[in-house]
């Protein structure tokens, strides 16, 4: 735990991506198993650990510190975990610090009533940095500017392998990832994925910039609609079916209606949509199916879901990712013809005739469930991640960005009991920078969900403002954006509103501040 604490400590002040990468790689090379596997999971946001409530941490602090001195200290430091870590009296009789794996195993097996004593004993055995890391870990508030992708990039330094390969294996193994380390360090073969119902990392698109339009030769590209649902991957193997979100979370249980009678062996890329006999539903319809613990029969009848196919990654035993997009499309069409299902159809191709006509189609699409156009190079192979120059998304409304909720404040009038004013941020150097504040755009039902999110995800309080876990993506629409000296981010949005709540989207895929800056009138590309 001590070494992991020092890593987090260094990461919390590390200035850039490369320095962070060096730090993580050095830790992974030096730390023992299984600790480094758990550390990696924690950094990548893939560690499912039962969390401790801030109230419990406060109660623990009260056993070691004068209440007045605690209050004054907390007022000064402003962060609960850090205050307690710094205040906790040092224990000099310690002869061994707890290991990260020891902490994780104990948290898993302990009964709830045992947790406070366990945590207190660990705090006694750690120094201030270790205590801080422990409290951040168990309160679920690690915020050190590391994305899952960065953590996995650090892994590639352990062996001579590319990121795409690591990404793929990643989803087939679980923390502490022993088979993954064995493979990377040459002690074992690459874990087999053939029969595993595992997620393969997705290929993602870049937003189309004005400068791209001048540069691209349209004859190299194919166009299709960008459907307004959620991007998923369907894995079919040996009579079983799994549905994964774009980050590899298994969401099969929420969609039994889609998965019940599918056949075939394939890995497919597509958009999950509400598909009624009379046509495609809107995103609002689909939202009723998201984030549900149970899926009632009524809901399945009212909002039946289906899959609209974009691409095929694996067909039977054949990995298609090395094929060109045009060839994969052929494979996909053949597969769809061989496996007819009322729940699955092909996303149609859109004939390409020139920028002007495409612009028209983009602005006035034939269906409300279309949010723009996709452009994909005909010769592009399927690369995990977001390779440059191959796929582009061209949204109908360019003034929409994905931000992450950072702070919430109570509203006024009839909303004064609810957290309804939200400050959201965009990424810069692995950290979120606040870019705006919005307090409408959502329905009353959505507001209740947002309020619940705020209450269960509060990490700090500053008077009426709560800082929340930076996990919820808000799609923000706005009328314009300008430079501003008054805001730390350097940008100010005009009339921002919450266009939609992206419960499905991981925070690290929200937009960068740079993306916003490019929307400022008068700024083109990087210039």
């Amino acid at each position: 735990m001590q070494a992991f604490g020092e890593l987090l400590d260094r990461l919390s002040t590390a200035p850039g991506r490369n320095v962070r990468l060096d730090l993580i790689a050095a830790y992974l090379q030096a730390a023992p198993d299984p600790d480094r596997g758990y550390a990696l999971a924690a950094l990548a946001g893939d560690l499912s650990l039962r969390t401790a409530k801030p109230a419990m941490i406060r109660e623990l602090a009260a056993t070691r510190a004068d209440p007045d001195l605690f209050r004054m200290s907390y007022d000064y430091v402003g962060d609960l975990a850090e205050t307690v870590a710094l205040l906790w009296p040092a224990e000099f009789r310690v002869n061994a610090t707890p290991r990260l794996s020891e902490i994780i195993h104990a948290m898993e097996s302990a009964r709830r009533v045992e947790v406070p004593d366990l945590v207190a004993a660990w705090l006694d055995r750690l120094d201030a940095t270790g205590r801080w890391a422990l409290l951040k870990l168990i309160t679920g508030g690690l915020r050190v500017g590391v994305s899952g992708r960065l953590a996995r990039t650090a892994l590639t330094r352990l062996g001579d392998v590319g990121l795409a390969e690591v990404e793929e294996v990643w989803h087939a193994v679980e923390a502490p990832y022993a088979p993954l380390f064995d493979w990377l360090e040459g002690r074992a073969e690459k874990p087999s994925l053939t029969d595993a119902l595992t997620f393969r990392p997705l290929m993602l698109a870049h937003p189309l910039e004005v400068s791209d339009q001048e540069r691209l030769d349209l004859s190299d590209y194919r166009a299709e609609w960008k459907w307004d649902g959620i991007r998923v991957q369907l894995v079919l193997r040996c009579g079983q079916a799994r549905l994964f979100s774009r980050t590899g979370d298994d969401i099969s249980r929420a969609f039994p209606d889609l998965l019940s009678d599918l056949t075939g062996d394939a890995v497919l890329d597509g958009e999950l949509l509400v598909m009624r006999p009379d046509g495609i539903g809107t995103f609002n319809d689909l939202q009723q199916r998201l984030n549900r613990k149970t899926v009632t029969a009524k809901l399945q009848t009212e909002q039946p879901v289906g899959l609209r196919l974009y691409d095929i990654l694996i067909d039977g035993d054949r990995d298609c990712r090395d094929l060109a997009f045009d060839d994969r499309r052929q494979v996909l069409e053949n597969w769809a013809a061989r496996h007819p299902s009322p729940r699955i159809d092909l996303s149609p191709r859109v004939p390409l005739s020139g920028w002007e006509e495409m612009q028209q189609a983009r602005m006035d699409p034939p269906h409300p469930a279309i949010e723009g156009l996709m452009l994909k190079r005909g010769d592009s192979t399927y690369h995990a991640g977001r390779p440059r120059g191959l796929w582009f998304k061209w949204k109908r409304d360019p003034h929409r960005v994905d931000c992450v909720m950072m702070y919430a404040q109570r509203g006024h009038g009839k909303r004064s009991s609810l957290y309804s004013d939200f400050t959201f941020g965009a990424w810069r150097d692995g950290e979120l920078v606040p870019v705006g504040k919005a307090y409408f755009g959502f329905t009353d039902a959505e507001l209740k969900e947002l309020d619940r999110f705020v209450r269960t995800n509060t990490v700090e309080r500053y008077g009426p403002v709560r800082a929340v876990n930076q996990t919820l993506v808000l799609e923000v629409a706005f009328d314009g954006i300008n430079r501003s000296r008054r805001h730390k981010s350097g940008v100010a949005m005009r009339f921002p509103r919450i266009a939609r709540i992206r419960w499905d989207k991981p925070a690290n895929e929200a937009d960068d501040l740079e993306t916003l800056e490019r929307l400022i009138p008068g700024s083109f590309g990087d210039g």
Binding site: S12, T13, L69, M72, S73, V77, D79, T423
Partner: protein, 353 residues
């Protein structure tokens, strides 16, 4: 808590702590006719005083900083030497803060008051250690007067710096330090840890480093950074004032690791605020444990707290059953405390409403 005003022969005035029977100020915040100066930091030693009583080293530091404005006449004393002003006896004893720093021990009509100035109890190879003097009234600073401030052993922090230097030979290390005291202490600790390479100095640090060397503090091989080509600094340690870390000067350095040596580095928000990639918790002020230990050691019945986070220390002293009060002395913005009042809460982006 209400503080009852008591009369004493030493009292806080707008111009500083004033000794009535002796007719002099201690560390006056504006130019005074007669001043006793505890140490050379700018918020304690100000220019323009008429008669100045201080240690030899403190006078030398004030002269190096202010030239002829340091004072019109000086009484230079050694630690322990007793002098009198009217019927007040004055003795300076070491405070362990920086070279020449002193506590002022005053005695009048059988009562002893110790004005400790700034002090620390932890080891410092560049100055004499703090001396405990029992007294009736003890006047203490409270720069780090919260229990969250516990400074680690300074040598361990310097070891972290050296480990980082060893681990990143292709970068240079830019260490932000205050010109008086911190710079020399960090250099001396580096030497004790076996680092014998030349240490490079920003121009603003040269004068006081030279003075320390003239006064007999061994700092090893030092050289100015000015005029050196960028590549000559790769892998080197360069000391500079904290304010230079963010300015254009630092952009001339070869991919610097920015380190800041300060007691504030204990709190992450502060470390981030300073842009410290490598925060080093090294302070010339007493931490919470040193402050509270000192309050117990001096056995005073009454504690006056001058500057810093007074509330917590007053609370602590009262919990021991002592009389305790906070003095609001103006002008005590400590060299280590410039940004103390910057709130720790993050910026919340405001809408335009």
């Amino acid at each position: 808590m209400a503080i009852t005003e008591r009369t004493s022969w030493l009292e806080p005035r707008p111009g500083g702590l004033y000794c009535i029977p002796g007719d002099f100020y201690i560390d006056p915040s504006r130019a005074a006719d007669r001043a006793v100066i505890t140490h050379g930091h700018a918020d304690h030693a100000r220019p323009g005083n008429n008669h100045v009583l201080a240690t030899h080293e403190t006078v030398a530091i004030a002269e190096a900083r202010y030239g002829s404005a340091a004072g019109r006449s000086f009484q230079r004393v050694k630690y322990g030497e007793v002098t009198h002003m009217n019927d007040v006896s004055i003795r300076l004893v070491s405070a362990g803060h920086v070279l020449g720093s002193a506590q002022v021990v005053l005695e009048h009509q059988g009562q002893r008051i110790v004005v400790s100035g700034d002090y620390k109890r932890s080891r410092d190879p560049t100055c004499a250690p703090f001396e405990v003097v029992t007294c009736d009234i003890f006047i203490t600073e409270a720069t780090f007067g919260l229990p969250v401030f516990r400074h680690p052993v300074a040598a361990d922090e310097v070891a972290r710096l050296l480990a980082s230097v060893a681990a990143t030979p292709d970068r240079c290390h830019l260490v932000g330090v205050y010109a008086l005291g911190k710079a020399q202490r960090v250099i001396a600790l580096l030497r004790e840890a076996g680092y014998s390479d030349t240490i490079y100095l920003h121009g603003a640090l040269q004068k006081l480093c030279s003075l320390y060397q003239r006064l007999g503090v061994d700092l090893g091989d030092l050289a100015p950074v000015a005029g050196l080509p960028k590549q000559a600094l790769t892998g080197r340690i360069i000391m500079c004032p904290p304010s230079s870390l963010a300015d254009r000067w630092s952009q001339r350095m070869p991919s610097p690791v920015t380190a800041v040596a300060s007691g504030w580095m204990r709190v992450r928000a502060r470390a981030r605020q300073r842009g410290a990639e490598l925060p080093l918790i090294i302070s010339d002020h007493a931490d919470w444990d040193e402050l509270t230990a000192t309050i117990r050691d001096v056995q005073a019945g009454e504690i006056w707290v001058t500057h810093g986070r007074e509330d917590a220390l007053v609370h602590y002293a009262q919990s021991l059953g002592l009389e305790a009060r906070a003095l609001s002395l103006v002008g005590r913005e400590d060299e280590d405390d410039q940004d103390a009042e910057v709130a720790a809460a993050p910026e919340v982006a405001g809408a335009d409403d």
